[in-house]
């Protein structure tokens, strides 16, 4: 299944022009506030009219179709549960409206999101995290051909977010429909994205598979320096025999992680921020850091600021490091050069490790 969007809008002085194509899996739409992420999603779901362009789901044109016929499940920033209905009735609302079709069964969804014990309650008696899980379940049970999640975690505090992530990851792995996920949080993006669309000032400026976009130095200006960093996918290996610490193997090497709550053999992905990598031109000695990776510079990108983004390859895995222009000149960094990357332990936030 694929969804395609090509939307042009004018709102006051704001020109909106975005294109995207989302296959099955999570497509994260990332950008700062006001870049048009929500506008894109609402236009796609038919909640706001579009001036030009079209929207298609599985090749069927949806442009003039009202929202209740689009089969787009939508989770808003706030849960928007119907207060006069129980959780059960909220979950079955779409079915009552005649929305039936292939999709997950009631039991599958309530198991996936752990909603069983909440069914008899009214929305007023739910916590923020529970309510958002119910909203997610309600959207899933509307037989959607595509799911739109508009910053679904933004109203939750850090702890609650961490508890919802595993549900979102399971959702991503178990459903076969495209999921459009809007966020301005780089960690959220790194953890969930299969594909990424970067939005800037009402335009879709860059898109592609998550690992490629995140490793593209040209994306850094749109991500922001702090959000720049790559996602490394790999598997949990047996613990390091010397230190007893957890090890993740990836295509090109290994990383030692200080803390890991995942079983051996499990596929995981971690985000390594560009600012957490230190580069050396020779094999460093006498360092406290456990992770030293040997790579080859594959791209150099000088931004407007004082920094240089260095993309390097370890095996077939891409990394990004941010160094100052001064350091880059001192080290004489050029394309094709061999470098050693020291990855700080602080790069591995246990909360940022996704599955």
């Amino acid at each position: 299944m694929t969804v395609k969007l090509d939307i042009q809008l004018k709102r006051g002085g704001f020109h909106f022009d975005a294109q995207l194509s989302a296959p099955a899996g999570v497509t994260v739409i990332f950008g700062p506030s006001g870049s048009g992420k929500t506008t894109l999603l609402r236009a796609f779901a038919g909640l706001d009219p579009i001036e030009q362009g079209h929207v298609s789901i599985e090749g069927a044109d949806m442009s003039g179709v009202p929202p209740h016929h689009r089969a787009v499940g939508y989770v808003f920033q706030e849960p928007r549960l119907l207060p006069h209905l129980t959780v059960m009735a909220n979950l079955k609302f779409a079915q009552k409206m005649g929305r039936v079709g292939a999709g997950q069964s009631f039991n599958e969804v309530t198991d996936l999101l752990a909603l069983r014990h909440l069914l008899e309650r009214y929305p007023a008696a739910l916590s923020g995290g529970e309510a958002q899980r119910v909203a997610l379940g309600r959207a899933l049970l509307s037989a959607p051909k595509c799911l739109c999640l508009d910053e679904p975690l933004s109203a939750l505090d850090h702890g609650l977010k961490q508890r919802i992530f595993p549900y979102l990851e399971r959702l991503r792995d178990q459903t076969k429909i495209p999921i459009l996920y809007v966020t301005h949080d780089a960690a959220e993006m790194a953890r969930l994205a299969d594909h990424i669309v970067l939005m800037h000032a009402g335009r879709s400026v860059l898109s592609g598979p998550a690992t490629e976009v995140l490793a593209d130095p040209a994306a850094v200006p749109f991500l922001g320096v702090r959000a720049a960093g790559t996602v490394v996918a790999g598997r949990v290996m047996s613990p390091d025999p010397v230190t007893g610490l957890a090890v993740m193997g990836f295509d090109g090497g290994q990383l030692i992680l200080p803390e890991l709550a995942q079983p051996e053999g499990r596929k995981i992905r971690i985000r390594i921020a560009a600012q957490d990598i230190v580069l050396a031109s020779e094999m460093p000695k006498g360092l406290s850091a456990l992770n030293i990776l040997e790579g080859v510079i594959s791209d150099l990108h000088q931004g407007q600021g004082p920094g240089v983004m260095v993309q390097f390859k370890v095996g077939r895995t891409l990394f990004l490091a941010r160094v100052t222009q001064y350091s880059a000149a001192q080290m004489g960094l050029v394309l094709g050069q061999r470098v050693f990357a020291i990855v700080k332990a602080s790069a591995f936030d246990p909360a940022g490790i996704g599955t």
């Binding site: 909640l47 928007r80 119907l82 006069h84 409206m97």
Partner: protein, 228 residues
């Protein structure tokens, strides 16, 4: 005859008042809901005009409203003869009394329902539309249940208003015992004759009791709505 027992005329006035109030509320409720919905949710040319028109009976002297009803639905009025051909005579009948009461209660009912509809979060309606509900279904399954306490409160206030309607009723349908004589017009008739203090007292007692009860009920319903 003890001072509490009702004379047949008084009993008739009481039951007729209840019937008139009930019918007028039931008939005006769907129209009031529709008008309230339009006023609450739609923006169009003539919005202010419609709003003013709906509220007119609230500020117009009731005798004027009654006279206008007579002009419209009287035996020589604009709509009188065609309605009579259909077997519906309104002037000087209890049905006419219900119409007069309905027109007078209409603005109050619309106001209450409009407030209730405006209190419904459009974001919930939007969410329902993404779940496959057409705008009609959104209204039936989301908007209506969420504003139900307000609609009921409007009905109760309208009922109380219809119960006490006097000016427009007496102008439009006169004061015929057993046909159009409500509590209010019965009290008026009794006051014209000396020595009817006991009967007047009884009718006033009933009047206060019914109105007070209705207001209490609408208060309870309104509070329920706020709690949501």
């Amino acid at each position: 005859m003890s001072w509490l027992s009702l004379s047949p005329v008084e009993f008739q006035a009481l039951t007729l008042s209840l019937w008139v109030a009930m019918v007028s509320v039931l008939v005006s409720l769907p129209f009031a809901t529709a008008v309230a919905y339009i006023l609450a949710r739609r923006r169009f040319w003539g919005h202010g005009l419609l709003n003013a028109l709906v509220h007119l009976p609230l500020v117009l002297p009731p005798v004027v409203t009654g006279y206008l009803l007579l002009m419209a639905f009287g035996r020589r009025g604009v709509f009188g003869p065609p309605l009579e051909a259909l077997g519906l005579q309104l002037a000087f009948t209890s049905a006419g009394a219900a119409l007069a009461a309905a027109v007078m209660a209409f603005p109050l009912i619309v106001r209450a329902i409009r407030l209730a509809l405006e209190a419904v979060d459009p974001k919930l309606e939007e969410a329902a539309s993404t779940l496959g509900a057409s705008s009609v279904k959104v209204f039936i399954f989301v908007t209506l249940p969420l504003s139900l306490p307000g609609i009921l409160a409007g009905a109760v206030v309208g009922f109380a208003k219809a119960l006490g309607e006097f000016g427009a009723t007496i102008t439009f349908v006169s004061n015929i015992p057993g046909e159009t004589q409500t509590i209010a017009s019965a009290i008026y008739a009794l006051l014209q004759v000396p020595g009817q203090e006991a009967a007047v007292g009884r009718m006033i007692g009933f009047s206060i009791l019914l109105s007070f009860g209705a207001l209490l009920l609408s208060e309870v319903l309104a509070r329920r709505m706020v709690r949501r």
